[in-house]
């Protein structure tokens, strides 16, 4: 996928272990290196602060409640990470998306998620304009 010697890194914030695992596999298939997973707010913030990922995928509902929004805001304000929500609960998101770049709606498909992650990597690598051809997963959700 990506020929850069340095792999782009990702943190997955998701309380459903199986979904996190699935996301991790998809992300690796696309060419990301997975720094870590987190299932609750404090864990997520620590992982993001320590790992400084290029991309954060964040579910809204975590083990300690709807704290994904706080995690996203923290990542947006304190790191250079691109932040994207992955949620089945679009309604729980604030209008400004807490500064996040976009939303991938659950249930996503593997192909859709792959496409979205590949697109996000291009954005991180500054290979595309942000306005360019957003994949349908990101577009439909946004």
């Amino acid at each position: 996928m990506k020929s850069d010697s340095v792999k782009r890194s990702i943190v997955i914030v998701e309380d459903e272990v199986l979904l996190a695992l699935d996301l991790e596999m998809i992300a690796e298939e696309v060419g990301y290196s997975v720094i870590g997973q987190a299932a609750k707010k404090s864990e997520a913030i620590a992982t993001i602060d320590k790992g400084r990922p290029d991309l954060c995928l964040i579910d809204v509902h975590l083990l300690d409640g709807p704290t994904g929004v706080d995690v996203a805001r923290h990542a947006v304000e304190n790191t250079d990470a691109l932040v994207v929500f992955v949620t089945a609960n679009r309604a729980a998101l604030p209008d400004d998306l807490a500064g996040a770049y976009g939303v991938i709606a659950k249930p996503y498909t593997v192909s859709g998620m792959r496409e979205a992650l590949a697109h996000l990597m291009k954005i991180i690598n500054q290979e595309v304009d942000r306005a360019d051809q957003t994949p349908i997963e990101l577009r439909a959700a946004g």
């Binding site: 459903e16 199986l18 979904l19 695992l21 699935d22 596999m25 509902h61 089945a88 609960n89 309604a91 729980a92 709606a105 659950k106 249930p107 996503y108 498909t109 593997v110 192909s111 859709g112 496409e115 349908i136 439909a140």
Partner: protein
């Protein structure tokens, strides 16, 4: 205004004498006007503003009956003795002001009889002028309007009661509304929560199948799991746009078709990635989302798969959705499709798909075959019941 204590002119003296003669006289005079005033049922008085403190100089019998005073007790006194503790100072002020300005006035004022009983007096006072324009008398007429006043007060109190009742009712309505709003919000939260759970579970099922596909499966098993995976994803896609706050209970067919076809085309690279769409904005009851999603998924995959081996020609897919006479028509066609390929595709579709279409959606599948393109059209009632079909 002239000083009342100024010496009267000749003319004034003449007037006064005339009035005295007309009004004081206990004897019948030949003047029918004076007789009328004395005899009328309307209580009347005349006062003389040129005398100190504007005293009563005449009162008719009706006035005496109304107030309970004898003539002798009235003449020479200012009318204010009719006032009492419940008399409204504002009414008194209005009277005084009118007399001061030599104007007509009407007030409904609380007055008291000699025996102390109060009554509502509808009082008119008018200045009477001589030829020179000077006010020589004030003429007053009185009418007991206690009954009318009582009715008014009763109405007021009924009004007050109504107002209170209304306020009470409004309060109750407000309380009830607040309670309903609270329940509604609770219900919305619950629906939202359920919706969220359902989506998450669909995601989980999809992920579980995804795990299997990452294993080293035999070809047959891989095909099987892939098919299941695709079906679950089609269900998921149909579900994803539901519970949209703009149209609860409905899902957007056009949006769904666009997303589903997009997904399917990813796996059929010999077709143009972007079909030519002609999709009207169509909503269907949410109950139709799942069967329509499953059926469309089967048919489209069968159609596209049927020509996998013949990638020549025009690989553009043409997809339209429209409503006509209460029926929804979804057409999928291409110049690259031929009738036999479509027939093969339909034959290859699982029997349950056809059953799903017929039984649950009341739908039918037909061929479309014109000069340029070939394909299938799915027709179904928009509202689904036989009633609406007619």
């Amino acid at each position: 205004m002239t000083d009342r204590r100024q010496k009267p002119t000749e003319g004034q003296i003449d007037n006064a004498k005339l009035a005295e003669q007309l009004l004081y006289s206990k004897h019948e005079t030949g003047d029918p006007f004076a007789a009328a005033i004395r005899g009328t049922r309307m209580a009347m008085i005349v006062t003389d503003p040129r005398q100190e403190d504007n005293p009563i100089i005449f009162a008719n019998d009706s006035f005496c009956r109304l107030t309970g005073y004898h003539h002798d007790e009235l003449i020479g006194r200012n009318c204010r003795f009719l006032q009492g503790p419940e008399t409204n100072p504002r009414d008194i002020a209005a009277l005084n002001r009118a007399v001061e300005r030599e104007e007509d006035v009407h007030v409904e004022i609380m007055n008291y009889r000699k025996d102390g009983t109060p009554f509502w007096n509808s009082l008119f006072i008018s200045p009477v002028r001589n030829d020179d324009g000077e006010v020589v008398f004030f003429f007053g007429s009185q009418l007991d309007v206690s009954n009318k006043k009582q009715t008014e007060f009763a109405l007021h109190s009924v009004n007050d009661e109504l107002r209170e009742t209304k306020t009470l009712l409004e309060q109750q309505i407000d309380d009830r509304t607040a309670e309903l709003m609270r329940l509604l919000a609770q219900r919305s939260r619950l629906v939202n929560e359920l919706d969220h759970r359902v989506k998450n579970n669909l995601q989980l099922i999809s992920s579980l199948l995804g795990f299997e596909l990452r294993n080293d499966l035999g070809e047959e098993a891989r095909e099987l799991v892939t098919r299941l995976h695709q079906r679950v994803d089609a269900l998921g896609l149909a579900h994803r746009d539901q519970h949209n706050k703009d149209a609860i209970g409905y899902f957007r067919v056009d949006n769904f078709i666009r997303v589903l076809i997009g997904k399917i085309l990813v796996q059929h690279e010999q077709w143009e990635r972007e079909p030519r769409y002609a999709l009207d904005q169509i909503s269907l009851p949410i109950g139709k989302a799942a069967p329509l999603a499953l059926a469309l998924n089967e048919f489209v995959r069968a159609l596209l798969g049927g020509v996998d081996s013949s990638p020549a020609g025009d690989n553009l897919l043409i997809i339209s959705a429209t409503t006509r006479n209460g029926r929804l028509l979804i057409t999928i066609s291409s110049r690259n499709l031929v009738r036999s390929a479509c027939q093969d595709a339909l034959d290859a579709v699982e029997p349950w798909t056809v059953k799903l279409l017929e039984k649950q959606l009341n739908a039918q599948i037909d061929f479309v075959d014109d000069d340029n393109s070939c394909g299938v059209v799915l027709t179904m009632p928009v509202n689904g019941t036989h009633d609406e079909e007619r």
